[in-house]
Symmetry: C2
Subunit: 318 residues, 2 copies
């Protein structure tokens, strides 16, 4: 990754009737972006980045020029650059509620919010009183899933990679229990300690060894909502998972999902989450990095868990 | 395993009001029995065998003595022995239809039939025209699943471990395509050849490398019905499965199941399958071994695929 300076006219060209010119304010660093940095040998769920072109990611942007005067602030897939000329504005979401931090639309009020909401309710199908485990629980998705679980009346445990995060999970987000996976010699034993009667729902964000330990601790007839496997994305070959026989012996449903299959739920989700945020019933922690120059290291930091909360990059505040 | 001779009185003791005395006719060799030959460190879905006691397995038996005169021929979990005194006869199924080979009740008309039927229809949820892959396709369950898929109007491919089995899959069971996994250097390439547009339903019987190759070849929004993982049961540690990220990128539901959760479907299944067998619309191949002395090697043979079709052991024919 390198920062390149070029010139752009801050106007939509006459020929681009639908075009919009964006000033990018906040950029989102998301684990799935790692998967766009490879050339898969067959079609993937996301296109690879084009070397030499700006990285693409979710962001919040101000519309500087558009034929549609109602288009003022938007979120969607934009370029990692100060200004972006967009030719398919229909892929962007208009931001109507601006009495919350605009940066939230890179996360809890955007794609990551839908991920947590749809993954937990639609794939996880929780019931009151169930036992929920969330890995990478301090990430953008994890922190919200934990709070959704508590609002649903579940017992919820999260794993994270530092004492600071573990403390915040319990004290700020209301997790019933949390542990630092880096400090546990035996993940299976840690899960047994936290779930003496087993796990009903696992919200999977990390993959690898954690998944193996979870499989041993699942209860019968339950489910694993597979959202991500961040521990695997930087490996040459992903770690093998050995305990899949538990899927049979415990009759487990393990199901992967992507937020964009659930975008139809976004308006409903937004109506629900906005008052929760405004009334302080749902907390949200961002890790804010300033400037496009810092964006590469912010993105890379995700994979060692350097971020504390949702990682964003500020390019401009207005 | 050893054969032991003891004496038994062929009468239910006075004290055992509910007891039945069985003469065992046909015994079933099933892969899951391997899992009863271990001492798991936590509760399992099946109890471990007790060393020194007869092995337990599905069988077809004649009732020699019982307080209930209607109880004549039954199938259920019996001992690997000539005669068994059963104290919980309510766990046995009464055989009413005897105009089919009685041995079929160890397989297609018994637990393995329910496995194939429930696994394919309830977990797999097939639709006409879909592409189905069945591994261990010549096994007791696989051969039936393939025929169910054809009856449903699916395109179906099976894998097996010999040329003989592959030929029979295509010529006797009507699979559209089949391949010998032992002869394929690259399972991924074999699946790509058979499924140029990908797999909609994978009926999983083997696990390990085959599962990894299948994950690469699944189509979007589809499902894996996990019935067994026979390639793994004799390994010290099961092979790692590396391509689970496909669950997310392709939004796959992978679900394990056991027949005994679906026994309520057994009467419905029997009504459906009996005429199909009698009219020759569903074929069934058994590998028949004679005598209790041959039972251990018949059971062990499953794990190298030595059996051609459903492996049974005949103790007596009437």
């Amino acid at each position: 990754m390198e920062v390149v300076t070029t010139k752009i006219t801050l106007k939509v060209p006459e020929s681009l009737n639908d075009g919009i010119l964006l000033k990018n304010l906040y950029l989102s660093c998301d684990p799935y972006m790692r998967n766009r940095m490879a050339k898969p040998d067959r079609p993937s769920y996301v296109d690879s980045f084009t070397p030499g072109k700006p990285i693409i990611g979710y962001g919040v942007s101000k519309v500087l020029d558009s034929r549609n005067p109602n288009f003022k602030t938007v979120w969607g897939l934009t370029g990692w650059e100060e200004y972006s000329l967009i030719t398919s504005p229909q892929l962007f979401f208009k931001i109507n509620h601006t009495d919350v931090p605009l940066s939230y639309y890179t996360g809890i009020l955007g794609m990551r919010g839908v991920t947590a909401y749809a993954g937990f309710y639609e794939v996880g199908a929780p019931k009151k009183g169930e036992c929920v485990f969330v890995s990478a629980a301090f990430g953008a998705v994890g922190q919200l899933v934990g709070q959704l679980a508590k609002l649903t009346g579940c017992y919820v445990v999260g794993s994270a990679g530092s004492k600071e995060k573990v403390d915040l999970l319990k004290n700020k987000f209301g997790f019933d229990e949390a542990f630092n996976y880096k400090e546990e010699e035996d993940l299976d034993a840690a899960l047994r300690r936290c779930f003496p009667e087993g796990i009903d729902i696992y919200f999977e964000n990390v993959g690898g060894k954690m998944l193996d330990a979870v499989l041993l601790n699942m209860r019968l007839h339950n489910r694993i909502a597979v959202c991500g496997m961040i521990s695997q994305y930087n490996l040459q070959q992903s770690e093998g998972v050995h305990n899949l026989f538990c899927l049979i012996s415990k009759r487990i449903r393990m199901e992967g999902f992507l937020a964009f299959d659930f975008y139809h739920l976004y308006p409903k989700y937004l109506d629900w989450i906005l008052p929760h945020i405004k009334e302080g019933k749902v907390a949200y922690v961002e890790d804010v990095t300033e400037g496009l120059e810092s964006a590469p290291s912010a993105l890379i930091g995700l994979f060692s868990g350097r971020n504390v909360g949702k990682q964003i990059v500020v390019i401009a505040r207005q």
